[in-house]
């Protein structure tokens, strides 16, 4: 789910870069407010690399397989480092495997990164919003929400960008129908991603809870 070069008009690419600039600036500002921002750089960097590598893991759904995006999980684990991490990860993907593109780097970072920040806030709100739920369930449910919405929103942005930007000649009803079917088509993917995120977060909670402290 990366938008390659050549599809989007220059204005949209520029807007993507502008949003990415602002989001990065905002994230860095939040990070620099921490007591010792330098201390978190190695952690964020190695986890960025790990996420990049983990995005090659796929879940077999014969006869095909589902690749995970993990942007919700990134938000849950890395907090405000998630946006820079996604930016860097996409940069590597564009350079190393030609996945995505350089002109669309800003757009792709926005598409993945903003939902990741949202997932972070959803997960962090679990103790406030989810009080009624008992502990492991609460973490699981909010991790699920973070993962599913992280992917779901990214997918919606992706579809909107594609549909509204390519075929100017497609008529309005066809357009609506396409958006609708494709969005519905993404629901199972969001469920898989959410479930996977929940399983993973529950595993981390058992084995290495420090990783979830944000």
């Amino acid at each position: 789910m990366h938008i390659p070069d050549g599809i989007l008009p220059a204005q949209v690419c520029a807007a993507g870069y502008a949003i990415t600039g602002v989001a990065t600036w905002y994230s860095l500002r939040q990070i620099n407010r921490r007591p010792d921002p330098a201390a978190e750089v190695p952690k964020a960097s190695l986890l960025t690399a790990a996420f990049f590598v983990a995005s090659s893991i796929y879940i077999p759904v014969p006869p095909a397989s589902v690749h995970l995006i993990l942007n919700g999980l990134l938000g849950v684990v890395l907090g405000y480092f998630a946006f820079p991490a996604i930016l860097i990860g996409l940069f590597f993907q564009a350079l190393v495997i030609g996945h995505g593109g350089l002109t669309t780097l800003g757009v792709n970072a926005t598409m993945m990164g903003i939902p990741a920040l949202l997932a972070y806030h959803i997960f962090q709100s679990r103790d406030v919003v989810g009080k009624v739920l008992p502990e492991p369930t609460r973490t699981g449910v909010f991790a699920f929400l973070g993962g599913a919405l992280g992917l779901g929103i990214a997918a919606l942005i992706f579809l909107a960008l594609i549909i509204f930007n390519i075929p100017a000649e497609l008529n309005a009803t066809a357009e609506q129908a396409a958006v609708l079917t494709l969005s519905v088509g993404h629901i199972p993917l969001a469920l898989v991603e959410g479930t996977f995120t929940a399983m993973l977060v529950l595993f981390l909670r058992r084995v290495k809870p420090e990783l979830l402290e944000g």
Binding site: F203, R206, V207, K208
Partner: protein
Amino acid sequence: MMMMDSVSTGLNPVAIAQGQRPIAIAANALSFGYPDQPQVLREVTLTVQEGDRVGIIGHNGCGKTTLFMLLCGVLTPVAGEIHLFGEPLTPGQFRPEVALLFQDPDDQLFSASVRDDIAFGPQNMGFDPAEVDARVTQAADMAGIAHLLDRTPHHLSGGEKQMVAIAGLLAMTPQIILYDEPTASLDLRTRRRLIRFLQNSTETVLISSHDLEFVLEVCDRVILIDEGHIIADGCPREIMGDQTLMEAHGLEKPHSLIPHVESHHGE
């Protein structure tokens, strides 16, 4: 560097092949190289009988790990073929009769509890839950880690992790176990425990190690690899005791084979 033709002391692979015990591993003219690199192994032929305990020695990068990866079907040889108990090995195929202990136990412990981890293999082999449980208990007993079953593998010490990883293999009742540098960062007590364990094990065992004293205590046959060839294959004490041979291939004669009465140290 000096090159030597295969020096065979004591045991001769062809003679072994005609011996009475069945053949566990038969590798024939095995060659392998990583992409864009010179070949690591060149026409290696190797026969291991059931119940053998073979040590594989050689300097860093001589191809010990690569050989193990080939023997368990993780890597595909460029040429040559491997038979395990007479049946050809197809790379990628799951052969529960051969198990590999990775050098770093963290590479093979993934579960949230020791019990789940040991159960991983039997579950994938399709046993029913009762059988899985029985195998977990038995393997844990054999490896001496029954008291750790409810712990998280992550929080164990290095030596404990090692034994849990071994239990994970034993639960699959393999007939061949490949141990890749099992003593690398064990202390002497844990190393001693491993020596006892291996001396009593009944599987066919291959051990790659830089710890020659360890090989000497555990193995009844040793194979020296250098430049992609088997340089020597035979009785451990004869091969490792041969100072010229060892030094020609970047190794040292182990201290316990050097005849001396408290001397030669502290220049």
